[in-house]
């Protein structure tokens, strides 16, 4: 298939394709980080993860409308405020859900799956009742939708760079929180031994609530960022949930580094295969490879040794 092209063309295409893989990687990281925090650190299966993301997207939609109507001069910068508000909105909803529902279910992790599935149905219908069944169009500032020509053939999409920077930034923030802060120590202590953690005076209830809230908040930021590349509608969250869970499980649930490593390998595999195969087959092959590796190494790429 490459016979007709010059070396420079091929080089450019492979560079672009590598970049496409990196964008996909960043998207996966953004999707999965919130879930990795909740699922990995708390053992809660949050099936409503996609709906928390879409809440962030709707917040972005509202903020963009507000700026367009009242502050058109600042429109090009609204996105940053939107992401902060998305974090706050999704995080607050997360705190409420933890208080009302999740905290009663810590001893029954599989039950959290059913309860959050019910929650996701309710949230979907809530979005539909408020924003209508149709997708809403989120206007993105012009500077974020353009592309940067590097050479004649290579063009770098700016929203791709934006997503990548965001992914790196949030990963770093989560890393610092988890591994360099007192709160992170508490979270990890609870993850390893809840009873002992409580016995040494860690407020497990409060820590759990904050962990869940922050996980949901990160999902909200991801949803906000995805308005640049995807659709915003009541059921759009469902598009992300399977990939998200696979990334987290493939990485080894308790390890944030594993999540990033798995996002990287899955995205690269998928983007390379998409280039040589049809999109549908690439997807199936990627999933099969993941399942195959999980059969050989069921604990995921990076597993933490834990006592039961």
């Amino acid at each position: 298939m490459f016979a007709d092209y010059s070396m420079s063309e091929l080089g450019a295409i492979f560079a672009m394709q590598g970049f496409a893989g990196l964008i996909l990687f960043s998207v996966f990281v953004l999707m999965a980080l919130g879930l990795a925090i909740i699922f990995g650190q708390m053992g809660v299966i949050n099936m409503a993860h996609g709906e928390f993301m879409i809440l962030g997207a709707y917040v972005t939609y509202l903020v963009s409308n507000f700026f367009a109507a009242y502050l058109p001069a600042l429109f090009s910068a609204y996105f940053f405020l939107a992401m902060i508000l998305a974090f706050i909105a999704s995080g607050a909803l997360g705190l409420f859900v933890e208080w009302a529902m999740i905290r009663h279910l810590y001893k029954r992790p599989l039950d959290t799956l059913l309860a959050t599935w019910g929650l996701s149905l309710i949230l979907q219908q809530l979005y539909r009742s408020i924003f209508g069944a149709r997708e809403v169009g989120v206007s993105i500032p012009d500077w974020m939708m353009g592309s940067m020509p590097v050479t004649d053939l290579i063009e770098i999409p700016i929203n791709g760079i934006f997503v990548m920077v965001l992914a790196v930034g949030i990963s770093l923030a989560v890393y610092v929180m988890m591994f360099r802060s007192g709160w992170g120590k508490q979270v990890r202590a609870i993850n390893q031994n809840r009873v002992m953690a409580g016995a040494v005076g860690i407020n497990t209830e409060w820590t759990d609530r904050m962990t869940y809230g922050i996980g949901c908040g990160v999902a909200g930021v991801a949803g906000s960022a995805f308005t640049m590349i995807g659709s915003t509608g009541p059921t759009a969250g469902q598009l992300y949930i399977v990939d998200t869970f696979l990334v987290v499980v493939f990485g080894g649930a308790a390890s944030l580094l594993g999540t990033i490593a798995s996002a990287f390998s899955i995205s690269q595999a998928q983007s390379i295969m998409e280039f040589f195969l049809s999109g549908s087959m690439a997807k199936v092959l990627t999933l099969l490879i993941i399942v195959g590796i999980l059969m050989i190494r069921p604990q995921g790429l990076f597993a933490m040794k834990l006592r039961k």
Partner: protein
């Protein structure tokens, strides 16, 4: 109560009541259309019974039961589709005699792996065998490596996603998103008529009871007690010298076989099979049927499937704009307030009172009162 009998007395009563509900009460009060709907709901209860064994007794939560339900259903649908695609019926096609969707996708001959499905015997065999073999492969890979709990749940979910994408992507062979539609006759017997629907309802009911008896047998056998021991203390069972993985594989395959039968009955009663029954959403819904019924109880699983689906239909007919609120609320309520589902309510709340009343006044409780869990 003898320890080794197949039933305890209260289980015996439970089976009898369910038989009355399915064979007498529902046909008496429902018209053919509603009865057919309940027949459809009952096909889900095959899956729910399998889940009650795997999850409730064995602690193995599979989020991919839709895969097995779908495989069983597709095997049946392939046979029926071949029967419906006679050269006379498909004369309008460029290649008469093959299923219509193949013709639309430029296939000019039947794929080799469709050929055996000309035989009903083979198809019926495949309805059970294909899901079981598939479950066996997954089971060996997973349980031999001691994968369990949440990981297992999510890996099975990935299987559901893969199979859906595969079926949709290979539409020349599988019918794609549309599924295999327009099924008409079974060995010349028109399955679309009202009489056929009623007959199929009873066939479905009888098969359901066969499956229930098999499940009950497993539960009451040594295997069933080992499963519960494994669920609660897997390592101790392993250290006692039992091969834990084999038991898990067996129960997982059994659940898959049940689901396959359910899928085949679904195809017969609804008249088509589509990938929307294979994917992640239906698989999770099937777990919810089981949870609502009470994950420990095989009878509860049947009531759970009936209740949730009936609620779904009723909510969506009465409040089409709002019914998801009701459904979501139901799931949350069951998990939060009634973790043992309908069976829990029955055992904890209703049965003790009935027994008390029974002891005070020797008059037997009427079946109508006892059938409340169905409502």
């Amino acid at each position: 109560m003898k320890a080794n009998a197949l039933f305890t007395r209260s289980e015996m009563i439970g089976f009898a009541i369910l038989a009355c509900v399915i064979f007498l009460l529902l046909p008496a009060v429902l018209d053919t259309f509603r009865l057919n709907l309940f027949g459809k709901y009952l096909t889900y209860s095959f899956v729910a019974i399998g889940l009650a064994l795997c999850w409730g007794a064995g602690g193995i939560l599979s989020l991919g039961q839709g895969v097995f339900f779908g495989l069983g259903g597709y095997c049946m649908a392939m046979f029926l589709k071949l029967e419906a695609s006679t050269p006379e019926n498909t004369a309008i096609q460029s290649t008469p005699g093959i299923p219509d969707f193949m013709d639309w996708n430029q296939l000019t001959a039947l794929p080799w792996w469709w050929e055996p499905f000309h035989s009903l015997t083979f198809a019926l065999f495949a309805v059970v065998a294909v899901p079981v073999v598939f479950a066996f492969i997954i089971g060996v890979a997973m349980f031999r490596r001691r994968v369990g709990g949440v990981y297992f749940a999510i890996i099975t979910q990935a299987f559901a996603a893969i199979l859906t994408i595969l079926i949709i992507g290979q539409q020349g062979f599988t019918g794609g998103v549309n599924g295999i539609t327009d099924l008409r006759t079974l060995l010349g017997w028109d399955i679309r008529t009202d009489e056929a629907k009623e007959t199929l309802y009873y066939v479905n009911g009888i098969l359901l009871f066969a499956v229930l008896f098999a499940a009950q047998f497993v539960r009451r056998s040594k295997l069933g007690r080992l499963l519960i021991a494994m669920r609660d203390q897997e390592d101790r069972v392993r250290f006692s010298g039992y091969d834990v993985a084999s038991f898990k594989i067996f129960i997982f395959c059994l659940g898959a076989g049940f689901a396959g039968i359910g899928g085949a009955m679904f195809t017969l009663q609804v008249g088509f099979m589509s990938p929307t029954l294979v994917g992640i959403v239906p698989s999770i819904e099937m777990v919810i049927f089981c949870a609502v019924g009470g994950r420990l109880s095989i009878l509860g699983a049947v009531y759970g499937a009936l209740l949730v689906n009936w609620a779904k239909t009723t909510f969506s007919e009465s409040f089409p704009e709002l019914w998801l609120f009701g459904l979501g609320g139901l799931f949350i309520a069951v998990v939060m307030a009634f973790p043992n589902g309908l069976a829990g309510i029955w055992v904890e709340k209703i049965e003790p009172r009935l027994l008390k009343a029974f002891k005070k006044s020797p008059a037997p409780a009427s079946p109508a009162q006892q059938s409340t869990p169905a409502e």
